[in-house]
């Protein structure tokens, strides 16, 4: 090894220190000695390369960054020049006020990006991040019968067995949602009820703000009925009277004693969704079914969900033989998921995709501002050079720069928060009612923290951008160059990079929006199986107290249909226990006579619907083969099925007519005995959607005759060429006349039913499109700004070119091509990014692939066209350059 001190420095290895470290380090060095120090550090670095090797030398060099950084903060060369923080702030403030165009544009752009991101974050926060609003909510789990893909409810038999044997839950309870008719103040109305066991309330840890919870005794069969009312119900229907507790109210014709009033906003798990909480009394079961209970458990402290599931399976396996004759599905096991997952359900991916979209908008907005900052720094390079010449170090200039962008970001962030508040109102206002936890969304401390971090982070990063972009400032050159300041190669490189990046970020967003729009269009194209233009429908529920026998109910329905059919313009009136296209109330298992389900396997299932002949007539569902139910005298056991059912359950080529089947709990029995009996397919009708337009693989439908079913809760459908919602007052009149205690609920025309069923995809599509539009606009503004700047910087060159006889179109092409090159590079990266990101969208799309080539092509074309248009404006300005004027400038 040579002794570096005596050797000629020129003979040392010419190793260069790590570039990035050098760039940073240079900025930290005191201005007066910068060049000397840099050279000396390089020399020391080279000595180290010789003596210890490159890797260690590199590491050593990076360490000097810390050493000088710490020294710079502690020590002499800056402190005197830096001034106090307030001075610094005041200085930045003045500088910003002198450049209102920059300041306002930067603030508004950032506010837009931050506002969008914070608004969506507050939704993500409220729905996905915040714990459910119950004490110790992380220990709450939903218990169900797991038979993938279905999660069946518990039956009373299940529930009572669980109660007897379980050791993993501190507490658990069951719930059942229903609708009941409330008769108060002489008016009948439908109310949403959550029937709960007394233990359900203690499991959730909720308590009435007035009155008390249910006593265990009130949960016993045949105990006097008790009810807890929601805060809203108490306020609106009981006048907020504290004496309401202990009063009696009539529900479905039966007296219930009010024992408590819930605090506002408290709901039975899925949010404030119930008006009333009647007590749920469980009769000892005679068979395993029916299954209608949702069970919530609170795990014992220290018991994991996995341990709980293991015990649940154990209990289930043991109880299975007990009920073998009424339930044969051995694949079904008990399972449990966290209450949080249960409530949030399938909303998570959509929300996260939306959040990703918002972050992309923020990225593009920030990139735009970065561009502004860089061009501002370029324009100001003379001012900065003066400061530098006066002794301000790179560090000091960087601090100056960062204070300025931080100031912009903080104001932008504050404004963004205001926008976010508006955004949250819009987001929740537009949200379909089926989205969970919408009531819990708002600007809370976490959201504020997120907004602050976003704003400060943007401010810091934006402040650092020019230091990267401008490279080492050549003080002398900047001072000598024109007033405009020199646009260094570094600055325009970074601006070009930023523009390309914007297009790269915009593309996946537009792609997402394009796919969601296409998917939504596909959804609207789905044939719901009925003609939505000519129907209205509503729901009626007959209280069991006043319609005790099946014949009472049937008599009412037939009188109602008769009266409604007599209304002007009405062609047909029908009944159904479910309502298409996305309201299925009953899904039943069955066994075909031609193919009995082998022991231990799951029966096939299908939508199970009580209808009369009028339903098919009102909705104009075509009869394909066979016949419909008789109007007045339906044959017991005669079934109508739909085409989808035939397709799914009948071997190809076999005539479905005459097929025999048993349903539900009768399937396990070898030879059905009354009340289990063979039923026979007598007709096949067109398929109608009941489980949503996007479900292509539903199980088909089995229609049995309503007039023998004694159903008390049905949807009524009125069909006719000119039937619309304007008919409803007359309909209400008819209902009132027949039974003044009945409440007409859920009124909707066919078109509204379709609209409501696609509310979620429409919501996602709308929001994503808004983001994509913002992104496109911002990217266009970005490229426009850069190309305008390019033209203004090259006025002289263009002038010369024109003076030398260059064609104006040539100039134009040159400018546009230059801009387009940036956009195309960005788009290319964007396509790659979109391809990678597409898998996040896959599950949210219907009938379109996440990598759909046509959508890609359209989006690429749109982006390129927008870029071309944005470049065209400055290009046109370039062609108008007067050579004489251009040459005289500068």
């Amino acid at each position: 090894m040579t002794d570096p001190r005596s050797s000629d420095p020129g003979s040392l290895s010419a190793a260069r220190p790590p570039r990035l470290a050098e760039a940073f380090l240079t900025r930290l060095l005191p201005a007066a000695d910068r060049e000397v120090l840099r050279a000396e550090l390089t020399e020391l670095y080279q000595v180290r390369v010789e003596s210890r090797g490159r890797r260690l030398a590199d590491r050593w060099y990076w360490r000097q960054l810390w050493a000088f950084g710490a020294a710079a903060l502690r020590r002499p060369w800056e402190v005197e020049a830096m001034g106090t923080f307030t001075q610094q702030l005041r200085q930045s403030f003045r500088a910003l006020r002198r450049a209102p165009a920059f300041t306002v544009t930067a603030i508004l752009t950032l506010a837009l990006g931050i506002g969008a991101t914070v608004a969506v974050f507050s939704v993500v926060n409220g729905v996905l991040l915040q714990a459910l609003p119950y004490p110790g909510a992380d220990r709450l789990v939903m218990v169900f019968t797991d038979s993938p893909p279905n999660r069946w409810n518990f039956s009373v038999a299940d529930y009572l067995t669980l109660e007897e044997q379980q050791t993993v839950f501190e507490d658990f309870g069951a719930r059942m949602y229903r609708q009941m008719t409330y008769n108060g103040n002489g008016v009948a109305e439908r109310v949403l009820t959550a029937h709960v066991t007394p233990s359900y309330l203690t499991t959730l840890g909720v308590a009435p703000s007035l009155g008390r919870v249910f006593t265990p005794g009130e949960g016993e069969p045949r105990a006097p009925l008790a009810v807890i009312v929601s805060h809203g119900f108490w306020k609106t229907r009981m006048g907020g009277d504290p004496a309401a507790v202990e009063r009696s109210i009539r529900l479905d014709g039966r007296a219930h004693r009010v024992v408590g009033v819930m605090p506002p906003g408290v709901g039975p798990l899925e949010g404030a969704t119930a008006d009333l909480w009647p007590v749920l009394q469980l009769e000892p079961p005679t068979r395993k079914g029916p299954f209608f209970l949702r069970v919530v458990g609170r795990l014992e402290p220290g018991v994991s969900r996995e341990a709980a599931v293991a015990e649940l399976r154990q209990i289930n396996a043991e109880m299975f033989p007990v009920w073998a004759d009424s339930y044969a599905d051995q694949r079904a096991r008990w399972g449990a998921i966290s209450a949080m997952d249960w409530v949030v359900g399938d909303v998570r991916p959509a929300l996260l995709v939306l959040f990703g979209g918002a972050i992309f908008v923020l990225l593009i907005a920030a990139t735009n501002v970065a561009n502004l900052v860089v061009s501002r720094a370029t324009v100001r390079s003379r001012e900065l050079a003066v400061r530098s010449a006066l002794g301000a170090s790179g560090l000091r200039l960087a601090v100056f720069q960062i204070t300025e962008t931080l100031l912009v970001a903080v104001v932008g962030g504050a404004l963004g928060l205001v926008l976010a508040q508006v955004g949250v109102d819009v987001l929740t206002g537009l949200a379909p009612t089926t989205l969970p936890r919408m009531g819990e969304i708002g600007i809370d401390p976490s959201v504020l923290g997120f907004a602050t971090l976003t704003a400060l982070g943007s401010g810091l990063l934006l402040g650092l951008v020019p230091s990267f972009g401008l490279g080492r400032r050549d003080t002398t050159r900047s001072l000598h160059s024109g007033t405009r300041g020199a646009s260094t190669g570094g600055a325009s490189r970074i601006r070009n990079l930023l523009v390309a990046a914007q297009f790269a970020v915009a593309l996946p967003l537009l792609m997402g929006a394009g796919l969601l729009v296409g998917s939504f269009a596909n959804l609207l194209d789905v044939d719901p199986g009925f003609d939505p233009g000519r129907i209205v429908s509503f729901q009626l529920s007959l209280p069991a107290a006043r319609y005790p026998e099946a014949t009472d109910a049937d008599a009412f329905w037939s009188r109602l249909e008769g009266e409604l059919a007599a209304l002007p313009g009405v062609d047909a009136v029908g009944l159904n226990s479910s309502r298409p296209p996305s309201n299925l109330n009953e899904h039943n298992n069955f066994a075909l006579a031609i193919r009995r389900t082998p022991p231990g396997e799951s029966d096939p299932g299908a939508a199970w619907l009580a209808v009369d002949r009028g339903f098919f007539e009102a909705l104009q569902v075509p009869l394909i083969t066979g016949r419909l139910h008789d109007r007045d005298n339906p044959v017991p056991g005669a079934l109508v099925v739909d085409q989808r059912w035939v397709q799914k359950h009948v071997p190809p080529g076999m005539d479905p007519l005459g097929l025999r089947l048993v349903s539900g709990s009768c399937t396990a029995q070898a030879e059905p005995e009354p009340p289990c009996m063979w039923q026979t397919v007598v007709g096949v009708v067109g398929s109608v959607k009941y489980t949503g337009l996007d479900r292509e693989d539903d199980d088909g439908a089995v229609y049995f005759a309503q007039p023998t079913s004694g159903y008390r809760n049905l949807f009524v459908f009125i069909g006719g060429e000119r039937v619309s919602l304007t008919l409803m007052p007359q309909v209400r009149e008819v209902v009132q006349r027949l039974d003044p205690e009945l409440a007409v609920a859920g009124t909707a025309g066919g078109q509204e039913l379709l609209t409501a069923s696609v509310a979620r995809p429409r919501y996602l599509m709308t929001l994503f499109s808004v983001f994509a539009f913002l992104a496109l606009t911002l990217a266009a503004v970005g490229i426009y700004g850069v190309m305008s700047y390019f033209v203004s910087q090259h006025t002289r060159d263009i002038g010369i070119r024109v003076a030398l006889g260059g064609q104006r179109t040539e100039v134009m092409t040159m400018v546009v091509a230059r801009g387009l090159r940036l956009a195309v590079v960005g788009v290319a990266f964007g396509v790659a990014a979109a391809y990678v990101l597409s898998r996040f969208l896959e599950d949210l799309l219907f009938g379109v692939s996440a990598t759909d080539a046509a959508t890609f092509a359209v989006i690429v074309a749109v982006l390129t066209a927008v870029a071309a248009a944005a470049c065209w404006l400055p290009a046109r300005r370039a062609t108008r350059v007067d050579p004489m004027v251009a040459l005289r400038t500068d």
Binding site: R5, E35, L37, A39, Q64
Partner: protein, 109 residues
């Protein structure tokens, strides 16, 4: 630290310059210190010490454009001022007095 107190590191830097003589710019100073103390020495620390010693009037510096054949590197060369020399002499005498007679005791332990 008062203006007239010499820190240990400053002391070491002065000694290194004394030893290096006319070759005293920061690179050899750092290397000299590393060689003598057997530890890595941070250039930032040396730089600060040099500045401080100059402020105290113990050092003076001149810029030199490197000789053309050496690649024209600009360097800041340091030299002890008379005051700096005095201070070193003083501290040496003080230390000698303090050390007088204690060396054997150290060797025993």
């Amino acid at each position: 630290m008062g203006k007239n107190v010499l820190g240990e590191f400053e002391h070491q830097v002065l000694l290194a310059i004394l030893r290096l003589g006319s070759e005293s710019y920061s690179v050899p100073i750092v290397l000299e210190l590393e060689e003598r103390t057997g530890r890595d020495v941070a250039p930032a620390k040396v730089y600060i010490a040099l500045r401080r010693l100059e402020e105290k009037g113990l050092l003076e510096s001149r810029m030199s454009d490197g000789e053309p054949q050496q690649g024209s590197r600009t360097r800041r060369y340091f030299a002890l001022t008379d005051e700096g020399m005095d201070r070193l002499r003083e501290s040496r005498q003080t230390l000698m007095r303090l050390w007088e007679g204690v060396a054997p005791a150290l060797d025993r332990s």
